[in-house]
């Protein structure tokens, strides 16, 4: 089966406080980088997956993202499925 590569970006929903992001923003100022008005920390998850075709791969990755990689109560996710022409076989 063809191998598909994807990246899932998980971020906190805008309404959810991100204390780690705020602490990092404060550290940016101590580094001398001023003017950082927003800094929020999420996760980037690299996935390789075997599937029959791109449509099947997308369906599996969406399930994975929504049910495991992100908690929809507090997080949003976006899926970047690389063009299958660039994926290995």
């Amino acid at each position: 089966m063809p191998l598909f590569s994807a990246r899932v970006l998980v971020s906190l929903r805008p309404s959810v406080l991100d204390p780690a992001g705020e602490a990092t923003r404060a550290a940016a100022a101590r580094l001398g980088v001023d003017g950082v008005s927003k800094l929020r920390i999420g996760k980037a998850v690299e996935v390789e997956l075997e599937a029959a075709d791109a449509q099947a791969a997308r369906a599996q990755l969406e399930l994975l993202s929504d049910r495991l990689l992100a908690n929809p109560v507090i997080e949003n996710w976006t899926l970047e499925l690389k063009d299958d022409s660039s994926a290995g076989a």
């Binding site: 959810v16 204390p19 780690a20 507090i74």
Partner: protein, 217 residues
């Protein structure tokens, strides 16, 4: 009369719960390894504190798929009493047995200290040993205990009397000062503070005894 205590790789309050229940209260307990599927003969199940499966990804996110929790979910569905303490509360929210989520403490620190809680027993049968508005002292020990729910959900939980424990002085930034809540049926209770560490006078107080005692009976 028997209490099941779930044990994941990474649990670290399972023996505290056993000591509080058996040693302090004389309640028989049985450990339930994460691969266990037999819950027969149990009157209630406790999901204890710790770092289940290392809490990788998110607290409780991996534990949710443990075989024992499939059985615990069915047990709760049948009306069985399930108590989630600290990591156990995080697991219950990840499983969807309790609404909302637990997130990083507002000030980032891991907090380990005694806390005062106000009890609002409402209709929750296992808090009937406490009077309305009673202030109790349970320790907390967590880095990710900030309860998060959107305003509509919080209002719904408050209106239905599901917010049964609140911090008197909010240590972690939880919305609505929520320290513990129940499901709508009242048979699943999750809380960040540790009632099992408030059962032996040797460790500073016995306010947690009434909560654990009411798990059985």
């Amino acid at each position: 009369m028997s209490l099941g205590v779930v044990v994941f790789p990474g649990s670290n309050c399972d023996r505290d719960v056993q000591w509080a229940a058996e040693g302090c209260l004389g309640i028989q307990t049985r450990f339930l390894w994460h691969e266990e599927r037999d819950l027969s003969g149990l009157d209630a199940v406790v999901i204890p504190g710790g770092f289940s499966y290392g809490d990788y990804l998110r607290c409780g996110a991996i534990a949710r798929f443990a075989p024992v929790l499939q059985e615990v979910a069915a047990f709760a569905e049948r009306g069985g009493r399930v108590l989630g303490i600290c990591n156990g509360f995080q697991v219950l929210t990840e499983m969807g047995l309790l609404p909302g989520a637990l997130t990083r403490n507002q000030k980032l620190h891991f907090i380990c200290e005694p806390t005062q809680l106000r009890v609002e027993p409402g209709q929750c049968s296992w808090l009937q040993g406490y009077s309305r508005g009673e202030v109790v002292n349970f320790p907390i020990a967590h880095g990710e205990g900030r309860y998060q729910a959107d305003p509509e959900l919080l209002k719904q939980l408050e209106d239905s009397g599901q917010v049964v424990l609140r911090y008197c002085s909010n240590p972690n930034g939880s919305v609505g000062n929520v320290a513990g809540l129940t499901n709508s049926q009242g048979n699943v209770l999750g809380l960040m503070p540790h009632p099992e560490r408030a059962c032996d006078p040797a460790t500073g107080g016995v306010d947690g005894r009434r909560l654990l005692a009411s798990l059985i009976g």
